[in-house]
Amino acid sequence: MSQTTAKSSPKISLLRVLGPAHVWALGVGIVLVGEYMGWNFAVGKGGAYAALIACWAAGLLYTCVAMIDSEVTSTVAAAGGQYAQAKHIIGPLMAFNVGLYLVFAYTMLEAANAITVGFLVDTVAGMSGHSGIDQRPFIVLSIIFLAWLNYRGVLATLTFSLVITAFAFVAIIVLFFGVAPWNVDSPLKHVELLGNQPALPYGWLGVLAAMHFGLWYYLGIEGTTQAAEEVRSPARSLPFGTMAGIITLLIAATLTWYVSTGLMPWEYLGQAGVPLFDAARLSGSTVLMVILGIGTLFSTLASANGCINDASRAWFSMGRDHYLPAWFGAVHPTYRTPYRSIIFLVPIALIFALGAPLDQVITFSIVSGLLGYTFMPLNIILFRRKWPLDTIKRGYVHPFHPLPAIVLLALCGVTYVAVFLGYGTQLVSMVAFYIVVSLWFHFWRYQFVSRGKQFTMPWPRPKGY
């Protein structure tokens, strides 16, 4: 990569090279895999219609997330994303927690993606008549190759993401047109497949429970903010890329639900490993099957790629502020990437990808994400209170405040109950984990942090202090 913008000063920083399309690719790339796998567990938890309700309720939740996040990010443009927001708006301990939410949500999602790559290779090998393939080398290769790509520079990494994400998105659209729902002999048979069954096999409790995996349709879209120090004009690109991402995902999620429920019995769909690939197999077209197979592979790689990018930025930012050992705050002098954080997170992703069951890994990721969404409404309310609209210039101001914050908080509450239904132990054990590390940070780690210097935004004194 050319280093035309390198300065002669000895300071090394991340490079501003990305445009809005890369932001879209980072946001959608991480999430789109949710349509290829994982969302369908919502069908298992509550039935087909419950999954659709959860899809839209979660869509509302994420629209609030995107609006709130866009406003704060268009003002706090720093690599840590929500971590830097929390540091400036709520306080250091909250920031430390938010930084960890980000790292764990993304690293676990990366592990889940790698597991899916292994599963897909296994499925394809099985279809070609080779059973009992060793999935591990494919899991390891996807994690290490993407880490290597991330290590070598952000522009190449996210351009790669852009190409494969676009392909995976187009594949979903192609599948929709391929099954031609408006045609009389379309293979979609919603009436025959869902007509003779109770609409909600678990009743309304199932709808609630389905919210757990409903998040999976969109989880990670908020990661766009991690690119703040590498985007050419963050105040414009970040809100635009994030909003375009949410719209893309709402379309993709609804199409995915529609096609999948019209092609297979919900009992199967609810436990399928690669549902869109199964849908393509059932459409009877080999071309569709190949396209959706490649789409599944690409979406998992794009997601893991974005996750490495985001998790390492968050880890790096915390190292830079000495929230974590200062050693992690290093930037590669040639590639301009947080290379030590990228390398450090590789073995962690491998431990979870090779050693833990998929639903546990996904739940770990979802709970960390959920805690992060709970932080956002608190964040925006305090942001508007400490710095009202006329005190600092915002690149984007979200409408109807504080309604989105209240809706988001309410939906988060619902989702805690949804996770509790079935995964209560993990929820409590994870929150216990965050309590323990919080005490560790407050009473031990925080001594290494400079007090005033960590407040880096050129803002006036907050109201009320």
């Binding site: 000895p10 300071k11 090394i12 920083s13 991340l14 501003r16 003002t75 443009a77 720093a78 690599a79 840590g80 830097a84 290779v121 090998a125 070609s128 080779h130 393939i133 060793d134 080398p137 494919f138 390891v140 290769l141 290490i144 190759f145 880490a147 290597w148 290590y151 120090e229 004009s233 963050p234 105040a235 930012s317 830079r320 502020d321 200062a326 050693w327 705050g329 290093a330 930037v331 590669h332 002098p333 040639t334 290379y339 030590r340 390398i343 590789v346 006329d390 005190t391 600092i392 210039k393 960590q454 880096t456 935004m457 050129p458 803002w459 006036p460």
Partner: protein
Amino acid sequence: MDIWNMLEYAAWGLSILFGLHMIYDWYKTDSTYSEDVLTSSREGELEAMAEHHKVGS
């Protein structure tokens, strides 16, 4: 030994290659540059150039 077995070995091999390349570059970088230069990035310095926040009401 069919194509899938060969792919397994290829995947192991490539993983090791990419991994070693990263570790080699990491070692080279850390021994070429001083720790002060490597950790010289500071949050907010880019913003001071790229963004202008209106301060005051």
